[in-house]
């Protein structure tokens, strides 16, 4: 029985925690780069379906030294042979697309930390899959966590944490205001930078311009506070450039779309009590994370400059590894685990360390 994770840790002894990276897109590569810096972790495999990546060395693929681990497109074989303690999973945002991967990994007996946005709090939007994944995790005596910077941290776990000092919470608003100028090109395209208004609207209609995770963050906040959600409303608007703005990749003329302004509102007892607002656009003058809790006391929390998405997602995922290894089995969320701080010593020393 895994339970506290202690028994397994004892069996593992002083051997490194064996890790497999599952999915080598930009986020997967970032996970690997940070994980390679941690003491006590050892990569024993990596999975991707891209023929250009299969067979290559994992270290080289992410732009560092060779590590003698090659990328495969046969996860089942790898998992059976390498027997990882934990798998870092980053292949998609939607549970329907990644469910079978998660089930296969769990059958191998490995814990999982995944960046799948819908996994961060699946109980509202995907209750059937959530139940199935939770049952599979318990059956296989493993822990499954979905996390990242957003969803997973700045707009949900951190918001909930801030309510810890409140005797009363009347409403919650969290804004993530980002300057997209310095992000990678795929991100700038994803938020619609450089499009006309018509192009933007049609991409919103077809679902390609959309932050996935607000449903999950709002559900996590409501559940964490003990509030019952009536429904969640979501609106995606363009952020129109009022002057010419540009990044190293793109130039946006005045009147074109500089980025996205997405708002989701959790309705509780008929009132809009949880509001999440994400603005990401080129030329944003004052990027920040901004949490306002109307409560007793009132909390007005700002992270100046904001938190860099890709770096922070990799940080949160890797920093959660020891907590996932120590957790009881099941499908966990960020609100179920101990506070997700960084850990900068050998991972073996995490357990029971004071």
């Amino acid at each position: 029985m895994k339970n506290s994770g202690t028994a397994r840790a004892r069996r593992r002894g002083l051997k490194a925690i064996k890790v497999v990276q599952f999915g080598l897109g930009p986020i997967g590569a970032e996970l690997v780069k940070y994980a390679l810096k941690k003491k006590g972790l050892q990569f024993v495999g990596a999975v991707d379906i891209d023929p250009n990546k299969v067979g290559k060395d994992l270290g080289e693929m992410v732009g560092v030294d060779r590590i003698g681990v090659s990328i495969t497109n046969e996860p089942k074989k790898l998992l059976a042979k390498a027997k990882p303690d934990i798998v870092l999973h980053s292949t998609g945002s939607y549970l329907k697309d990644v469910k079978s991967q998660l089930l296969e990994i769990m059958r191998s007996g490995a814990d999982i930390v995944s960046t799948c946005e819908e996994l961060s709090y699946p109980f509202l939007k995907n209750p059937v899959i959530a139940k199935e994944l939770n049952a599979a995790a318990r059956r296989n005596d493993v822990t499954l966590l979905g996390t990242g910077v957003n969803p997973g941290f700045v707009m949900d776990a951190l918001v909930l944490t801030a309510t810890g000092v409140c005797q009363e919470v009347r409403s919650v608003k969290s804004s993530r205001i980002q300057d997209a100028s310095y992000r990678r090109l795929p991100f700038q395209k994803k938020i619609g930078a450089g499009l006309t208004l018509e192009e933007f609207r049609s991409k919103v209609a077809e679902g390609t311009i959309k932050h996935v995770g607000f449903q999950e963050s709002i559900a996590m906040i409501a559940s964490g506070l003990g509030w019952k959600l009536d429904r969640i409303d979501e609106v995606i608007e363009p952020k129109v450039a009022d002057t010419t703005v540009s990044s190293q990749f793109l130039k946006v003329e005045q009147g074109q779309v500089a980025g996205v302004n997405q708002t989701a509102t959790g309705i509780v007892g008929g009132q809009p009590l949880i509001v999440l607002n994400l603005q990401a656009y080129l030329g944003c003058p004052d990027p920040k994370e901004w949490i306002v809790i109307d409560g007793e006391p009132k909390i007005d929390l700002t992270i100046k400059g904001g938190v860099h998405g890709d770096i922070a997602t990799a940080a949160v995922v890797i920093n959660c590894i020891p907590r996932v290894l120590n957790s009881k089995p099941g499908l966990m969320t960020m609100k179920d685990l101990p506070i997700p701080s960084g850990w900068f010593s050998d991972l073996h020393n995490f357990e029971h360390k004071r």
Copy 2:
């Protein structure tokens, strides 16, 4: 076996969680007032040594309606008879003064949340007592937590939480800058407001002007990050009024002491890597909590206006009750428990709620 707390919760069924308040100073009274608002909690007793309080009704004593629970100075008898599930403990800042109380409560089989500052992270300054309390908690199958707004939240747990998005942490600085003008008189006196410089220095020398908790907060941060502390340096300076300032209680002339400016520095590898600074004085123009993490990425987090001490301490203590009830047995700290959010529904619904 308590373990996850689930077995006990099941035994308790739908009966209210039985609570005893131990210590009825200003903080104890604030705990009671907030706890009385929570669904699923029921006071079954209260303890204080003050002859003016013994025999009085607990509700009346804290300024609300009678609740039919009288205050006693015989804790042993009360605990044996009332069999609380949890005891809220607020009688002192120092472990040597409260240790025997904590042991007595644990012998009765109750969990404890205490505002004792030294209990928030006792492993560095009080390792022997910490070991004894941890052993007693395990022997009695109960959980013991020391918490509050500071130590316990804004200068340690929240700092650690903020590092969760970091791939690297080079140093940590946390400042708590408070306007004492609107706090109660004992607080204003405690920070030295209205004293001459000589009076201030002599009170610092005799140990009466001092925030207790920096040693604990720094030790918790270092431990949470996996850093090894060489030592902690502490400096207590006066904040001198550069103009006349006043509160409803006190007037401070220019050149007199308006409050305190206390800094503690955790030295790691010969470097000052953890700096905590507390300023509390009359007339402070820009009160705030301010956490700066020099890392990758850099985090610059501010809570504008700061967090009100007494309200927040009561909030943190009461909000932690369900997590303490659910915890495995032992001496826990804020970094060991799930993120400490508020919970505004019946406490019975907390367990296993999504």
